[in-house]
């Protein structure tokens, strides 16, 4: 009998949105003395139990057929810029600064929501009085922890000008020592002295770490050593690093090593084009851009694993602008076809089986 909530002990923790210091927006207290920062995607924050904890290493396994790991990087970086967290960005491109122009701007996805009734019209809409408080909560979507990002609008200049952004090109040198020095210098600005007093926090985003464009891409032991040192430095800093890599470019054992080093491990899966079987199984197939798999969730200062509500989520754009992650919904079963319970592996995590509840 599975419990609906993840309970680590008989006490349920009160996770409140409290900024530990008035100068640093975008922090939230987590369990076991950890502090979360937002991923930039509200749904992902909720799925991971709050966000990315400070001191953790997030690894994202890319799918060569889908560019959606860039969306994870973009929202992460934009959220950091909106919250004024210093940023270090590295990528295998000659001009990494150009990527900053593709970052999304905060927007509100709940602006013109027709279903949320005004309080004045409470009489015309017959809601029982005890449910009115839930309707009110939907309005308060503005807080300084996380934002909804409008993927079609570029980030406004006020968030880019004068912000501490360090861009490093991984093509510059033949080995990783330059990148390692940059990371070490960056992380030395956010030492973790004790968990209660946080002076400042930083974000590191590294894109396509093992890209074959880089000269070091055949030296797997160097790459593993770099990630290991990055993780060790992170554990004693108040920062989060997100590293994306294409597992097909590495040997299986090196890819598994990187997966073990990650605190939070995600992967992107492309949606096959025009797959008739999948189209029959899922609702909203046409809106889905790709799948996001949650393999591991960070457990710092605790031995209890975090079990997410599902392993696979669909990535789609709401109103073609706002990223949303949803549990996979099984389409209503066509009684005549007879293949009612044959779900593919990726759909096995579906929890919203409303269509099948007889």
């Amino acid at each position: 009998m599975a419990a609906p909530n993840v309970r680590t002990s008989s006490f349920s923790r009160n996770i409140s949105v409290v900024s530990s210091s008035p100068q640093i927006p975008g922090l939230k207290c987590g369990p076991n003395g950890t502090t979360f920062i937002s991923t930039g995607i509200r749904d992902l924050d909720r799925i991971l139990g709050g966000g990315y904890p400070l001191g953790s290493l997030v690894m994202v396994m890319e799918d060569p057929e889908a560019p959606h790991h860039m969306d994870l990087l973009r929202t992460f970086m934009s959220q950091g810029l909106v919250n004024n967290h210093p940023l270090l960005y590295a990528s295998p491109s000659k001009d990494p600064r150009g990527f900053l122009g593709t970052l999304p701007n905060p927007g509100s996805s709940k602006e013109d929501k027709p279903t949320a009734p005004d309080l004045d019209q409470g009489e015309s809409l017959r809601i029982a009085w005890q449910y009115r408080k839930y309707m009110e909560n939907q309005k308060s979507s503005i807080d300084d922890y996380s934002n909804d990002f409008d993927m079609r609008k570029p980030l406004e200049r006020q968030f880019l000008a004068g912000r501490p952004i360090d861009c490093v090109s991984l093509l510059d040198s033949s080995d990783l020592s330059v990148a390692q020095d940059h990371c070490a210098t960056f992380l030395s600005k956010f030492p973790r002295l004790n968990s209660s007093n946080i002076a400042s926090i930083g974000r590191i985003a590294i894109q396509s770490f093992c890209s074959p464009l880089c000269e070091y891409s055949d030296k797997e032991s160097d790459m593993l050593s770099f990630i290991r040192l990055l993780k060790s430095m992170l554990m004693v800093s108040n920062a989060v690093a997100i590293v994306t890599f294409p597992p097909s470019m590495l040997s299986p054992s090196s890819s598994t090593r990187l997966q073990h080093m990650a605190d939070t491990l995600l992967s992107i899966k492309a949606i096959p084009d025009g797959d008739k079987e999948l189209e029959k199984l899922l609702t909203g197939y046409k809106d889905i851009n790709g799948f996001l798999n949650i393999h591991k969730v960070a457990r710092i200062n605790t031995q209890v694993p975090v079990i997410p509500e599902a392993k696979t989520f669909s990535m789609s754009l709401k109103k073609r602008r706002f990223l949303a992650l949803e549990c996979l919904n099984q389409a209503p079963v066509d009684g005549s076809s007879g293949t009612s319970y044959g779900t593919s592996g990726s759909c096995s995590g579906s929890s919203k089986s409303g269509a099948l509840d007889f």
């Binding site: 009998m1 599975a2 419990a3 993840v6 680590t8 002990s9 076991n32 003395g33 797997e220 032991s221 593993l224 050593s225 290991r228 040192l229 060790s232 430095m233 554990m235 004693v236 040997s251 299986p252 054992s253 598994t256 090593r257 997966q259 073990h260 080093m261 491990l265 393999h295 591991k296 710092i300 200062n301 605790t302 031995q303 209890v304 694993p305 079990i307 392993k311 096995s348 995590g349």
Partner: protein
């Protein structure tokens, strides 16, 4: 003090005194299911107030603060044990070896020195624990798995000469995909007890976090009176909580 013996303790032979003396224990895990909780349990047993055993802990994966918090919830205060000299915590997070020589020989000499110092003070069991052999390979052995095996052989000499126990955790799925299956086999061969943590065949679940398979070679049952030795293989499931682990056979509630 909690003296109830759970399934893991029985499989390891903890119902007798000093069950790990002179033994090598290998914990295997994979990406889906982490075996670090077994390490925590063994740390707690070694540092329990009922024994006077000592622990040398080489930390490659997590800093002291993490282990301190985890063990505190399990009822063991690592900071106190450090001051009592029952725990020697070696932080290997930033260790790097130079290109030419392998760091495992140097690492072993340090361990040997520490064991010698502890031996001069106490006569009870000393346990050497490594929390991640694959990170040791990257840090100290320049990604050369032969050197890691050498290191294990060096530590094995400690078990016979100084009556120490060695406990290591290895990520089995890294090596099972390599072209060298012999590496894993050699590690399993060297170990007296192998504890393997795997996910359930049915996938993720909130109330059962995985299954453990324990192979205890040459477990001697003293209850029969004649000391008959036999291999014991046990398989059971577990659920991890903040303050302990529940072990149970599939389909049963906890024992």
């Amino acid at each position: 003090m909690d003296r109830s013996v759970n399934l893991l303790d029985l499989a390891l032979g903890f119902d007798e005194p000093s069950p790990l003396r002179g033994k090598v224990v290998l914990i295997e895990d994979c990406v889906e299911t982490s075996g670090s909780f077994v390490l925590h349990q063994m740390m707690k047993r070694v540092l329990s107030p009922h024994s006077s055993d000592s622990l040398i802990f080489l930390a490659f994966a997590r800093p002291f603060s993490h282990y301190d918090r985890v063990l505190r919830k399990l009822g063991c205060n690592l900071a106190t044990q450090k001051t009592n000299n029952r725990l020697v915590f070696v932080d290997m997070l930033m260790m790097q070896c130079s290109d030419n020589e392998s760091g495992v020989a140097k690492l072993f000499r340090e361990i040997q020195g520490t064991v010698g110092k502890l031996r001069s003070v106490t006569n009870s069991n000393i346990t050497v624990m490594v929390d991640d052999m694959s990170l040791l390979e990257i840090a100290a052995a320049n990604s050369n798995s032969d050197h890691v095996l050498d290191f294990l052989h060096y530590c094995h000499t400690l078990t016979s000469e100084s009556n120490c126990s060695v406990v290591t955790l290895n990520h089995e799925d890294i090596y099972s995909s390599m072209e060298r299956p012999a590496y894993l086999l050699q590690m399993v061969c060297l170990a007296d007890i192998v504890i393997k943590a795997e996910p359930l065949a049915s996938g993720l679940a909130n109330d059962v976090h995985g299954q453990l398979t324990v192979v205890n070679k040459g477990m001697i049952s003293s209850k029969s009176g004649k000391g008959s030795s036999r291999n014991k293989l046990q398989n059971f499931q577990f659920r991890i909580k903040e303050n302990g682990i529940e072990y149970f056979y599939p389909g049963c509630s906890r024992n």
